[in-house]
Amino acid sequence: MIVLTLCLLVALLIVCGRRGWQIFSSLAGSFLVLLVLIMLIADEFNPLIVTILLAIGLVFLAIYPNTDNQQVKQTATVTTLIMLGLVLLMTLIVVHFSFSQGFSIEDTDEIEQFILTVSVSFPKIQVAVMVLSALGAIAEASIAVSSGVWEIVKYQPDISESNLWQAGLAIGQKIIATSLNTLLFGFFGSYLTLGLWFIQLNYSWTKIFNNAIFVSALLELMISFLGVVGAIYLANYYILRQRRKLLTKNGADK
């Protein structure tokens, strides 16, 4: 494991140079932040509040090392933060209706040795899980859209607002399709074993679609996707507003 991690670091340094360091340390940083989050939750701090506070830190860790342009950074950060807020609201609703918290019969092997009455709220932990697993995808989409659209503004400073909006959405469409692939295949990879389990034990359709693990995994996938779509529209809207401000400011200067 350690050797593989070192291999990754070397590969990053060869391919990305100095930025490789930044990427690697942001990953290490995210890992540490997550450990802190887990320990705080285990120490009975409210999972929702801990998640909100630390997620803000994670957003900066996910965005700042990955782009140099100031405008892109700002747009991506604002978009991701607002979108995470909306995703938090969505997950609160979804977890309430899906009862997808905690552990399921399929986990018995792993958890039978434990006391499960541990006075920490697992529905709230489930909200944290869903929000954090959407964070990466939302940050990626916001960075990609903002860097693409600001690029257009740079090369065509006189582009009209409606054209800019259309161009931004065209970039967004491509991102939606590809990030859906990333999420979907990630899902396939993570839940291959669960699928094999379902088939080996002849689960009925009703049982599969009411299974806590399966339902929460699919909901995670879909909420991340909704977050990506939202981030794309939000980033475009935000850039239009920023640009309007810039233009009026420049007009006043002249």
């Binding site: 291999c7 009862f99 006391i115 094999l196 009703t206």
Partner: protein
């Protein structure tokens, strides 16, 4: 523009009615469903367990109305006991839907569990509507590609189980090739870009995997606990590799198609670029997306750790022990995926700088 909105909006509503209707019809025909009408807490008991875990055991009296099956239209009363932490029990609310068993006599009715598929279908339909309404043709294409991927995935699972998981790695490799081909053809059509993206996806994914297997062999899988595989499904190592392969494929495809598309566009604008320059721009595009792509997989991996590690910690385990029992497989998979993502950048730039020019000549 307006016509498009109408056409795809209509298609979305049609799909919505069809899927929603089918789902509703199937649930009402085959399941015993009840809706909670009244909830009353009848007992609360403070629990004192070891490691300073105090929890509350709560018993609620649920008055439900049965809405499908044998006892449709009748009322019934259940007792439901749950713990405040709800690690493996559920607290029901008014309007919650519950699945019941299917007995002959009413008095042996019992709760199987909450009905979870309603919110699942609702979210799914919401996505279909949004995708079709906002993305039109691209949205439809995306939905078709997702549907194809799902069918292939399920088919491969069925095949693998039929052979008792013995050939799982072989099946997954073939699945991976077919999935990338199908997905990339939907993105680029039948063209040289598809070829480049496909080749570089497969080369970087498989070489990352091979390289990692080699490293793991040389270090004797030091630190990895294969026996912590979910649900203890055998054979550990092969399934581990199969999972990793599928998990990284999407991200690498993302990347290779992104780099290929930008280089293609660049070559359209400046047909006289030398291969070396083309390669350099490919590297530049790639360096921008490596970080965010690794992040997507990394955060998913991290988030899934939270509940189980919290449970370990609350049961008096040390952080180090908890992590070693829960994260070694996921961590290794994420690192291998990240390696694939990094490798894809030079591989794609190299292949594209040669093969893309061939199309021009």
């Amino acid at each position: 523009m307006n016509k498009q909105y109408k056409r795809y909006g209509l298609l979305g509503i049609l799909l919505l009615c069809l899927i929603g209707g089918l789902f509703y019809y199937r649930s009402m025909r085959t399941e015993n469903i009840a809706i909670v009408q009244k909830v009353k807490v009848i007992q609360k008991e403070q629990l004192q367990e070891s490691y300073q875990n105090d929890d509350m055991m709560i018993t609620q009296k649920l008055t439900v109305k049965i809405i499908s099956g044998h006892f449709k239209g009748q009322q019934h009363v259940f007792k439901n006991t749950y713990y405040q932490s709800q690690a493996n029990s559920n607290r029901y609310f008014v309007h919650s839907k519950i699945l019941l068993n299917n007995p002959k006599a009413k008095k042996s009715l019992a709760i199987i569990g909450p009905k979870r598929d309603g919110i699942l279908v609702f979210t799914f339909l919401l996505i279909i509507l949004i995708v079709l309404f906002f993305l039109h043709k691209a949205g439809l294409k995306t939905l078709i590609s997702v549907a194809i991927n799902w069918l292939l995935f399920i088919g491969a699972l069925l095949l693998a189980t039929r052979w008792h998981n013995q050939h799982i790695l072989c099946i997954t490799i073939i699945l991976a090739i077919i999935l990338s081909l199908a997905t990339l053809i939907l993105v680029f059509g039948y063209s040289r870009q598809t070829l480049i993206a496909l080749l570089s996806t497969l080369i970087s994914t498989f070489s990352a995997l091979l390289f990692s297997v080699l490293v793991l062999q040389l270090t004797n899988n030091q630190g990895i606990h294969f026996e912590t595989m979910d649900y203890g499904i055998q054979p550990f190592e092969l399934i581990f590799l199969a999972e990793t392969l599928l998990g990284v494929l999407g991200a690498v495809m993302d990347e290779t198609s992104d780099i290929t598309a930008s280089l293609y566009q660049l070559l359209q604008e400046k047909p006289n670029l030398a291969p070396a320059q083309l390669r350099q721009s490919g590297m530049n595009v790639g360096q921008e997306i490596i970080g965010p792509l690794i992040n997507i997989l990394f955060y998913i991996f991290l988030a899934e750790l939270i509940p189980i590690v919290v449970l370990y910690l609350r049961n008096g385990n040390t952080l180090f022990f908890s992590l070693s029992r829960t994260m070694t497989l996921g961590y290794t998979q994420t690192i291998i995926s990240a390696l694939g993502i990094v490798l894809a950048v030079p591989v794609t730039s190299f292949l594209a700088s040669f093969l893309l020019r061939g199309e021009q000549a």
